[in-house]
């Protein structure tokens, strides 16, 4: 078993090795905002949040197409550093994305894609864990902060195993134990079961958080790389999460469709 903090140290080193590209939002080290505190003295990140970008379609710079807005990438440095054979696979994924993207079959999108799906999520803090409740597919993540390390593997989960700690006002989440069945976006950017994700949630104002993600996967990439984006607190009075039970709608649509490929053996 690999203690979670070992991966955290590697992740920290990876973050320090990066110089943010021009135009990327401030790093967690540069904010001076002090958020309110929960009753047990931790930064209070609770509430309803949402990303407001095009990363769910493509985390790199991309033009528009039907139904897909153009957008600047959220990958620091521009391009994802694929190994050559992995880049070929990404391009094949892209060509067949409409049917190959597991999210198009309503499978759980994994981490960090669940964060930037175009749906809100709610953060709930308790003494033993931070829970993130996602409108998309009513997904839940329990980020344990009870002193337990990652459980021993091998484990392959869609959403990985999350262990959190505070670093100043930043919630740092270490995630391992992924399967290889999720993509980072609709554009075919993928990973293996060796994926290791380190998330950093840093409040930068009462209504903004900086979300930074370090991705490590020695089977797919030549080096660790990083995404960053803003998260916005939903401002509507009486904002709430609704339901998006994706597979219910998909099954209902496809059940009586003689041309459906949903029920084919893969």
């Amino acid at each position: 078993m690999r203690p979670w903090f070992v991966g955290f140290v590697f992740g920290l080193a990876a973050i320090c090795a990066f110089t943010p590209a021009p135009g990327v939002a401030q790093t967690s080290a540069t904010t001076s905002y002090a958020p309110p505190r929960t009753r047990d003295g931790h930064p209070d990140l609770q509430g309803i949040w949402q990303a407001l970008n095009t990363a769910a379609w493509d985390v790199e710079d991309h033009h528009a197409s039907l139904g897909v807005p153009a957008g600047r990438g959220v990958v620091e440095g521009g391009a994802i550093p694929y190994q050559p054979s992995a880049l070929a696979r990404k391009q094949e994924n892209f060509a067949k994305r409409a049917t190959l993207d597991p999210e198009s079959r309503c499978h759980l999108p994994g981490v960090p894609r669940i964060t930037y799906m175009p749906h809100p999520f709610q953060i709930v803090q308790q003494a033993d864990k931070v829970s993130i409740l996602y409108e998309y597919q009513h997904a839940v993540r329990y980020i344990y902060m009870n002193g337990n390390p990652h459980p021993r593997g091998p484990i392959e989960w869609w959403m990985g195993d999350s262990r959190g700690r505070w670093e100043g006002n930043t919630l740092v989440v270490d995630v391992i134990h992924f399967n290889d069945l999720t993509w980072f976006d609709r554009a075919g950017n993928f990973h293996s079961d060796a994926l290791h994700v380190i998330e950093r949630y840093t409040p930068t104002s009462p209504d903004h958080m900086l979300y930074e993600v370090t991705i490590e996967d020695p089977k797919v990439f030549t080096r660790p790389w990083k995404m960053s984006m803003s998260l916005y607190r939903r401002q509507e009075r009486n904002s709430e999460l609704f339901e998006y039970q994706c597979h219910a709608y998909l099954l209902e649509q496809e059940w009586n469709n003689p041309a459906s490929t949903l029920f084919e053996k893969r």
Binding site: V124, D128, L133, Y142, E240, Q245, K265
Partner: protein, 327 residues
């Protein structure tokens, strides 16, 4: 696997193998010997709670009755059959009804709705009494669909925050505002409906509207409609027991409002006293001081059940889209 379990498995009709072997909805499936005494549900609970002394729950720092903690589900046969029944097969032992009112324990359908219900029951094709052998619908639960009020029949952790009560399960959640905000309009319909909570004395009252009517109460086709309103009452009746009661109202398909009632026990406070079936979990030796015992780990029911979905589709079951009651 014990010899009793192997013997029980060989008695299963073929179609049940689909449900038994699939991880996900059948995870934790128990197998029940024929001699199992009738499992308790509403009748036993109503009698037990009448004898409980008055109880004043502790309060949260915000002054609400403190319902926080991890709570068991209704137990029994995993709400396979809602009404009172005798032993059917190894997955479904004799059990009391979930229905506490009307006193006969039966869902009070209108004649039109009862005919619909019997049509669904006849088309389940499990080899159970009352079936024709033709396939019509199978339970929405088979598709890992989360629906009201079944979320409340299962285990959850209750967390209380100012202005809301949050219920967490291993693959879903409910956030129930208690701040008096209005519900969403009735043309917006959901599997879990739209919930609004308020405190009445010691009781959390949760009104659920905007239901899409596509869920079942059990696996036999006991249904509701998009006109249904459910009112749950969650009351701490001793330090380790929540009295869960839900009133179901829908004049388009029921002749009167009716109720279901059972206890939810605080996790780790000992067995409920009812006999337990034999499951894989019950044959494993307990792990002392497991540091992960209180953690809730991923279940990914839908992702793990693509094979059983394929089987159900190829067997020719139709997709249940709810009932359309006459005006």
């Amino acid at each position: 696997m014990s010899r009793r379990v192997v013997a029980a498995l060989t008695a299963l009709p073929a179609v049940l193998w689909v449900l038994v072997l699939a991880p996900g909805p059948a995870a934790g499936q128990a197998f029940w010997p024929k001699e199992t005494p009738k499992l308790p549900m509403a009748t036993t609970w109503v009698a037990q709670k009448a004898k409980l002394p008055p109880y004043t729950p502790p309060r949260t720092p915000d002054g609400e009755p403190d319902l926080q903690g991890v709570w068991s589900g209704a137990g029994g046969d995993n709400n396979s059959v809602l009404e009172e029944h005798e032993y059917i097969d190894v997955t479904t032992p004799a059990q009391e009804s979930f229905v506490s009112d009307p006193p006969d324990g039966k869902v009070p359908y209108t004649p039109w709705a009862l005919a619909k219900r019997n049509e669904i029951l006849a088309g389940l094709a499990r080899g159970w009494p009352g079936e024709s052998g033709q396939r019509l619908y199978t339970s929405p639960g088979s598709f890992c669909l989360t629906a009201a009020p079944v979320f409340s029949f299962d285990a959850q952790e209750i967390v209380q925050k100012p202005g809301s009560v949050i219920m967490l399960s291993d693959d879903a959640y409910r956030v129930i505002p208690t701040d008096g905000r209005p519900a969403i309009g009735q043309n917006a319909k959901f599997w879990l409906g739209n919930a609004r909570g308020r405190w009445e004395g010691h009781t959390l009252v949760v009104e659920v509207t905007s239901l899409n009517g596509k869920g079942w109460f059990d696996s036999t086709g006991q249904f509701y409609s998009e006109n249904t309103r459910m009112v749950e009452r969650w009351t701490l009746v001793d330090a380790n027991t929540i009295d869960y009661e839900v009133t179901v109202e829908d004049p388009t398909i029921y002749t009167r409002p009716w109720k279901m009632n059972f206890p939810k026990r605080r996790a780790g406070t000992g067995p409920s006293g009812a006999p337990r079936g034999i499951s894989v979990a019950s044959t494993l030796p307990p792990v002392d001081n497991d540091p992960y015992a209180n953690e809730s780990w991923e279940t990914a029911c839908y992702e793990g059940n693509t094979e059983s979905l394929r089987s159900i589709h190829s067997l020719g079951y139709q997709w249940f889209t709810g009932v359309t009651p006459p005006r």
